[in-house]
């Protein structure tokens, strides 16, 4: 009989504290497992003062000496008790493959261990843990945790219960419960440690895991102070909870945009445009409808944009795609439906001009149209039978039902007749057809747990984690750094300075994007310096720019909504440079808090810096990591305005090539 311990493959770790008679039930279900491997039960009495707890644990240990092992320790909390069990299991069971955490008032089905172990055994090495569905008894409830594991979702929602199985490889990687967390939710933090080390979870159905939900259970207590617990968890995992990492996960999921191309009848799903999943329209609609029924977070983007393939390709080739999509996304956060007419004009170099919507009857028909709508709204509209989405009801939380814009951009008009005008009808018709053939109504009528069944939207993630509506998907190339240069106007001198700086940053290994806080980007000669040119037209088109005075100087600022969007647009860059001050100054403080390196460039175009420029910069100097100056004279002037030496750097006043780029401390 000693064979069981020697060949134990799974240890069930049960921290015991209080509720001794419920612990009997827990132990009973743990002993009733049907498995083709040996498993042991490790009870850790966490210094429970009641003798009944000891009696129950000791009685079971005595009754099953080959299978139940009993550790008694002074009180250290749930995490510490679980860790104690882990260390014991690792030391005592040389053949251990996994541990299963079972709280002392919960129950498990007879096949739970076998099914979780099977899932771990058949998974790749990246799978660190297996988690079950949860039936909550007591105050009854069921929680459907099914669907493919989404690390992105796991950042903002804990769907892996403590009653999960951790593989030996996770434990060997040193992952343990955080003993500082004594208010609950320590299981979430444990799995996040796994995620941080590159592990992922896998869902296992039909395990019969039952969570006892009592009025004063620990989880209820945790819910009371959930905000501070979440703050603690995020603080513990800065590598996970930073905008760049979240964007990387979102990029992996390709869950930001679904761009429907009416000319090819395909849908491009992506977050960053160099990693696109192409679907047929029918495949996409199927996925969209499934997203409303079953959990699969990230499988279907929540924002749909209809744009011809030729226009999409042109924007991509001209480095304008990210900016266009971001503007549409920002507009969509305000409006149920966004329509953007497009007119092409012949030009030798790429350009783009945003204006308010045109009147087709007065101004002539556009060459094509871009439409944007959230996918769930599109489905609702398609299945309601209503004909005109523009006249529908404004979505909750949005200010407008319908926003219209117009783009004039470089490039030849498409040869074929504009189809995008009808793209909404095509989509609605397609949805209605697929919904019929896929029997959506049948499944709609079935009482399924749909609380996690949703398309992916930035607002599920970024407001909660960073208090930002979204972040612009700057890029997710591994090992590359991204820099953003901000301009308020496109005067030649400023553009030249930005291009010079871009070359220098490129030399340092940055991928450089140009941001224009303006509704227009004229033809830029050396566009190759910038891999993307992002115009930010909405503050100007929607009257979102205000002015304040600082020491008699006029300083522009954005209204709060536009400000948050602008910060979100820049939040995933490693370095952001204000090339010509203006609106960009007011963003830098927030960006620095998000660990973005912030630079200001003074005297960018002429090499001469005015007092007004220094005054404006001095109002925000604390927000900058570095302020780059053309010469020592300017440095003296900056000091006179109260800008500390430590931030000031001199940039050689002639930069003609990357090799000549130098920065030096003023000292």
């Amino acid at each position: 009989m000693k064979r069981i311990a020697a060949d134990t493959r799974v240890a069930v770790i049960i921290p015991a504290y209080g509720q001794p008679w419920l612990t009997c039930e827990t132990l009973h279900t743990a002993l009733n497992q049907i498995a083709d491997f040996n498993y042991s039960i490790v009870i850790v009495n966490d210094g429970c003062p009641t003798t009944e707890t000891h009696d129950v644990c000791q009685t079971f240990a005595s009754g099953f000496p080959e299978q139940v092992f009993y550790l008694s320790r002074s009180n250290g909390g749930l995490s510490s008790a679980r860790n104690c069990g882990i260390e014991f299991a690792l030391a005592a069971f040389s053949q251990l493959e996994a541990v299963y955490f079972l709280d002392c008032d919960n129950r498990i089905g007879p096949h739970l261990l076998q099914r979780l172990v099977d899932a771990l055994r058949t998974s790749g090495p990246e799978i660190g843990w297996a988690y079950p569905d949860v039936t909550k008894f007591g105050f009854a409830e069921a929680a459907d945790t099914s669907g493919p594991y989404s690390p992105l979702e796991h950042l903002f929602r804990n769907f892996c219960e403590a009653g999960s199985m951790a593989s030996r490889r996770m434990l060997d990687a040193g992952i343990r419960f955080d003993t500082e967390m004594r208010q609950g939710v320590e299981d979430w933090e444990f799995w996040l440690q796994g995620m941080e080390k590159g592990f992922r979870g896998v869902h296992v159905a039909d395990t019969g895991f039952s969570y006892r939900r009592r009025g004063e259970s620990m989880l209820v207590a945790a819910e009371r102070d959930f905000a501070s617990i979440k703050r603690y968890i995020r603080h513990r995992h800065p590598q996970l909870y930073n905008p760049r990492n979240v964007l990387r996960l979102e990029a992996d999921a390709r869950s930001r945009y679904a761009v429907y191309h009416p000319d090819t009848d395909c849908v491009s799903c992506f977050t960053v445009a160099n990693d696109i999943e192409e679907l047929t329209l029918q495949e996409f609609i199927m996925r969209l409808l499934q997203a409303g029924q079953r959990p699969a977070y990230g499988s279907c983007p929540g924002q749909l944009i209809a744009m011809s393939r030729s226009l999409f390709n042109a924007f991509q080739a001209n480095g304008q795609l990210q900016g266009v999509l971001w503007t549409l996304e920002c507009a969509l956060s305000r409006s149920t439906f966004v329509e953007c007419s497009v007119r092409h004009r012949v030009a030798t170099r790429p350009s783009i001009f945003w204006t308010k919507g045109i009147d087709a009857q007065k101004d002539g028909s556009p060459d094509e149209t871009i439409l944007a709508i959230e996918c769930t709204e599109l489905v609702r509209h398609a299945l309601s039978g209503a004909t005109d989405i523009r006249g529908g009801v404004t979505q909750g939380g949005k200010q407008h039902q319908y926003l219209r814009f117009h783009i004039e951009c470089s490039g030849a008009a498409p040869d074929q007749v504009d189809q995008s005008r009808d793209s909404l009808q095509i989509l609605c018709h397609g949805i209605s057809e697929v919904a019929g053939s896929a029997r959506r109504e049948l499944w709609d009528g079935v009482a399924l747990d749909r609380y996690r069944a949703q398309t992916a939207l930035p607002r599920h993630v970024y407001p909660e984690l960073f208090n930002l509506p979204s972040v612009l998907p700057s890029g997710a190339e591994p090992g590359r750094r991204y820099a953003a240069l901000i301009l308020n106007s496109t005067e030649t001198g400023k553009l030249n300075a930005a291009e010079d700086l871009a070359k220098a940053l490129d030399f340092e290994g940055h991928i450089v994007h140009l941001f224009l806080f303006a509704p227009a980007c004229p033809e830029i000669a050396a566009r190759s310096s910038f891999s993307q040119i992002i115009t930010m037209p909405l503050p100007h088109l929607l009257s979102g720019v205000r002015s304040d005075t600082y020491q008699a100087g006029l300083i522009s600022r954005l209204e709060p909504g536009h400000m948050n969007e602008a910060i979100g647009a820049l939040a995933t860059y490693d370095r952001v440079v204000s090339v010509d001050g203006g609106l960009s100054h007011s963003l830098m403080g927030s960006l620095r808090r998000l660990k973005v390196e912030t630079w200001a460039l003074l005297g960018c175009d002429t090499g001469k810096v005015t007092s007004a420029e220094i005054n404006a910069c001095s109002a925000f100097e604390q927000a900058y990591s570095a302020i780059i100056l053309p010469d020592i004279e300017t440095a003296h002037l900056c000091r006179a305005f109260g800008i500390p030496d430590a931030r000031l750097r001199i940039w050689s006043n002639v930069i003609n090539s990357a090799e000549e780029f130098i920065t030096a401390d003023i000292s």
């Binding site: 311990a5 008694s72 104690c84 029924q293 053939s437």
Partner: protein, 511 residues
């Protein structure tokens, strides 16, 4: 403080009572004790290391330092003198790490002292177990008593439950209303069974219907069972001979609606037959959006894209746990009230058509989502619409709800009515009473949003198509009152249980 080879850890923490023998050297003492004994040698002032005996020899010798004292130690025994400071340090370590009072005394000296202590401990342990057993028996007695008295369900609740159980069982899932159906032969062994996940949990499940396309030939038996997937427990099992089958819906019924709580169920269907027999075929239908509800079988192995996933054509019946299916007893098949509720599918309600012109510049008629029909009263003559129902075996009643879906409506006495006629009778004739099979009176809707139930009961069970006419009217001729949006919803047909199937139900039992 204590160290031992890792492979001994589990034994030192098992539940067996133990004696830890503390010695100054590594020799195994020759003591015969009535419980497990482990020898630890003092290797320096404060550390003891386990001396494995020969039968515990193990190839790996990695030494583990104990964080916690071994479990269920009845005594630490130092038969040969060991420094008091070392024993005190051991005791302090045990107290500090174990989290409970130190209940394993340290005995020094001869075997007699140890045996006396073990005897006392045994007696104490016996008393403890006796007390626990007594407490347990009294707890069970109290629990039984409480079932009799303290937690007895109040009579009025029992009466309420009884009344609730009078409600008809109900069709809770049906995937059969699609033309896109096929058939599959039933595998002729349990190993080749069809396994169909069910989209409902066990609680309230009363039975299911399978659609027999081909009854097969020869001698054999068709089996069906419902399995709880989390426990692999069979909740109900039934069977019938091939020669008892007839084409159409074959009802399998539990004796009463299940009170089990499994969330995840699987229906397994297979056949056993003599050689030369041909297995029956049952209907299948596309699973559509949720391919997870597709069935598994050898016949479907290696198939096909998500959109082509098939599930069995099914009707699932349910009711309040404990409700019995009418018509299960053959002698009760003619009970007049033995009915089953069948909600009209939305796809049928969606086909509602206006039968009197209603010119208006705002919405006055139409199918709304989730089985609702808007029919606003507009004129002196009632507004009228019709839903054409296909042939339904054993149809005995049609009912629906009518309400005003605009809270701003202040008009009282808006009227609603339903009339059931033979197929093809127009609205005027229906209103005049020609070809009418059943009808309600005009029901006045006085409170917006409070639904009124309209019930049209047929005098006899009917198997042919019928038309369901909907009418609404104003309280009196005159201007159209604002916000008078009369909506019909929750259309339900009741079928006579004994007339609705070709076959007698197969009563399922626990295996």
């Amino acid at each position: 403080m204590l160290r031992a080879p890792s492979y001994m850890l589990s034994r030192l923490h098992d539940g067996n009572p133990k004696i830890i023998i503390l010695t100054p050297d590594s020799a195994q003492p020759d003591y015969e004790l009535p419980l497990d004994q482990y020898v630890f040698q003092l290797v320096d002032d404060n550390h003891f290391i386990l001396v494995p005996n020969e039968e515990d020899a193990h190839p790996t010798q990695d030494i583990h330092s104990f964080d916690l004292p071994p479990s269920n130690v009845w005594a630490f025994w130092a038969p040969v003198s060991i420094k008091d400071t070392s024993l005190d340090a051991l005791k302090t370590w045990c107290v500090n790490t174990s989290g409970k009072e130190f209940d394993a005394p340290i005995v020094t000296g001869g075997r007699q002292a140890l045996m006396e202590l073990l005897l006392a401990r045994s007696l104490r342990e016996g008393r403890r177990l006796g007390t626990m057993n007594l407490d347990l028996m009294r707890d069970l007695a109290a629990l039984r008593e409480s079932w009799l008295n303290h937690v007895k369900i109040p009579a009025e609740i029992e009466e309420l439950l009884t009344n609730l159980r009078l409600a008809s069982p109900r069709l809770i899932f049906s995937n059969s209303d699609t033309p896109d159906r096929g058939s599959i032969p039933i595998g002729t062994s349990y190993e080749s069974r069809i396994s169909q996940p069910l989209p409902i949990g066990a609680r309230g499940l009363l039975g299911f219907d399978l659609d027999i396309i081909d009854t097969g030939a020869g001698s054999g038996t068709l089996f069906a069972q419902v399995l709880a997937r989390d426990t692999d427990a069979v909740l109900a099992k039934g069977h019938t001979a091939f020669n008892a089958l007839c084409p159409g819906w074959l009802p399998f019924r539990l004796p009463s609606a299940s009170a089990a709580s499994s969330h995840s169920l699987e229906l397994q269907v297979w056949a056993e037959s003599e050689s030369g027999a041909i297995a029956p075929k049952i209907a299948v239908t596309p699973a559509g959006l949720l391919s997870k509800f597709g069935f598994n079988s050898q016949a479907s192995a290696g198939r096909r894209s998500e959109m082509q996933t098939q599930m069995l054509a099914l009707k699932l019946w349910g009711g309040l746990p404990g409700v019995e299916m009418p018509g299960l007893e053959r002698e009760s098949v003619y009970k007049p009230l033995a009915g089953l509720e069948v909600p009209l599918p939305d796809s049928l309600v969606e086909m509602v058509r206006l039968t009197r012109e209603m010119p208006a510049s705002y919405p006055v008629f139409g199918y709304m989502e989730r089985g609702k029909v808007l029919l606003r009263p507009l004129k002196a003559i009632p507004s009228a619409a019709v839903i054409r129902l296909p042939a339904t075996r054993g149809l005995v009643e049609i009912s629906c709800e009518a309400f005003i879906d605009d809270r701003r409506c202040e008009t009282r006495h808006l009227g609603a009515r339903v009339v059931v006629t033979s197929a093809g009778v127009d609205a005027d004739a229906a209103e005049r009473g020609e070809g009418v099979l059943a009808a309600t009176d005009w029901v006045e809707l006085n409170e917006p949003t409070i639904p009124s139930r309209l019930i049209a009961r047929l005098p006899d069970a009917r198997n042919e198509p019928v038309d369901l006419h909907l009418f609404t009217r104003l309280p009196e001729p005159g201007p159209v009152p604002p916000h008078g949006r009369v909506v019909f919803s929750r259309f339900v047909a009741e079928v006579h249980a004994a007339s609705a199937w070709n076959a007698y139900p197969i009563v399922m039992g626990e295996p």
